[in-house]
Amino acid sequence: MIKPILPALIFILGAIPIPFLKGKLKQFYLLLVPVLALIDLYSLGVGTQWGIPFLGYELIFLKVDRLSLIIGYIFVLIGFLALLYSLHVKEDLQHIAAFLYMASSLGVVFSGDYFSLFVFWEIMAVTSVFLVWSQREKASLDAGFRYLLMHILGGCCLLTGIIIQVIETGTVALTPPMNGWASLLILIGFGLNTAFIPLHTWLPDAYPEGTVVGSVFLSVFTTKTGVYTLARCFSGNEILAYMGGIMAIYGVIFALLQNDIRRLISYHIVSQVGYMVAGVGVGTELGVNGGIAHVFNHILYKALLFMCTGSILYMSGKRKLTELGGLARMMPVTCITCVIASLSISGVPGFNGFVSKGMVIGSATESQKPFLELMLTLASVGTFLSFTKLCYFTFFKRNDEIKAKESPLNMQVAMILTASLCILFGVFPQILFHVLPYTPVGYHPYTFFHVIGVAQLFLVAGFVFFKARSAFSPHPWIILDFDYLYRKAFQAIAWFCRKPLNDFRLSIQALFSKAVGYIASLSRNPFSPKGGDYNENIYRNPMGLGVLLAILFLFLYGLIYLVRL
């Protein structure tokens, strides 16, 4: 019988042959590896655990429970679809980076201790940045460095928190951290990857600059591993619930103002992750189930949105709403799948977002958090408006200048399959309910009351959009976010290092040089010639003097030694 292995290991080893394969064989191989990983996941039973002893601690690389298993399933499933979308890409670097990124994300999900989690966490940051840099433009290079800098900062916080936690508890087991500094620093570390406000700036900065394929992968893993770790360690934390609400609204307001379609949907990651964080923060069975169901559904429709916007960028070379329009006839598959993704993310009945978003908002109501319920409802309205704007100005608004045709077949198939899954999990939510962390799930999404309520919400919001269409029209601008303050702060730090700190270093260096010169002058041979030619035979001290001093020293040393005896 074949024994299950670490899902992460399948992708790590799977990355090795990629540079040696070409053509159809490579394409077949790229799809085969996630299929093998899916079979492996299926064979992993809940309760499976595998670890090794290391420096007196137990490192657990594989710990399977219902929470890790559902995240593992969706990671591998979307990995398959994203690889299908990327089959036309010839560059090996992107595929290798994607494989290692998937591997490290699965490594985080199945880690049973803080140490192995941290190692995979950092690999995730390093491998994912290559999906941004592969775009090979100055903007991508700069955004990639900023992305890396932020993640290193988060990693440092996480490591410090882990060290304090291990010292205080004496164990590396992945359990909710002790209150105090350990808890705070670990929360900041997890929170940075989850795009907590105001630590979110790396996300709308780097994701739009990734490659067409790279951004699809980027949209899936980093923030969702963040939500997973929060569900694992901070479930039921009220601060998280309200942070989720803030993220949901903040992301939506910024998304509504964006001109770049990939930046618009990146801000919606912040917003949608807000729902997940809110669900986890509420911490009830419905809240955690809702948060995790939203992770699952969001991965599908968000990857689909990045596929669609990638398809537009790939085929038209444009990504700004002010330059787009009229693509519905030229790119029908992209248009239909993008509309499906938009309806899903908005939470329209019949699409997957409707189910999980309803669960999260329901959990806020159930746990007597009226303000949170209002925040999440308002964010729903904003999401609907934002995607009405995206679809209208990209596909339906008249634009005679634009020229494009439908994307390659593999991209179309990937988009159609992902869109079908959005509908499947929307129409038959029970399929998803079977694999949620807490079962049985007693939530019924398709009640008349709920469907009518959501219909009212969106129809009236849509009415406002079409009546005030010009107020929503895009502008060729950027909207400053917290990253403006970070850039200013880093510029100030750089100036401080370059000017005052460097001047101080130079003055200290001058002082020491002076002191050394003075000491050197004191240690100079007083008999040395002041001028003229140096004749060694005249000025050299007799060798006997040195020998005499050595004998005298030894004699005195021996005397002291004997007296002490």
């Binding site: 509504l256 007597q368 409802t377 308002l378 009640t447 219909a455 919400l457 969106f458 502008h475």
Partner: protein
């Protein structure tokens, strides 16, 4: 071209009809969970949809008034 315009008009009418219908249905639907005061208001989601859209529009305008910059601002 005329066909397209008439189709657009038809869709618009259908949309308005759906808006009115959904609001009217909101008066007859039985509430399941009335935990907070506003849950008792008939067709409250329609009010949220309208006010929410206007609020977000105003919030966006306010933010753009001081945070919007030219696209090459960071270059």
């Amino acid at each position: 071209m005329n066909e397209l315009a008439s189709m657009e008009r038809l869709l618009k009418k259908l949309f308005y009809l759906l808006v009115v219908l959904s609001i009217l249905l909101g008066f007859f639907v039985k509430k399941e969970h009335s935990l907070f005061g506003w849950h008792e208001i008939p067709a409250v989601e329609a009010i949220f949809g309208g006010i929410g859209a206007l609020l977000l529009l105003m919030a966006g305008k306010f933010l753009a008034s001081f945070a919007s910059k030219k696209e090459d601002f960071y270059d």
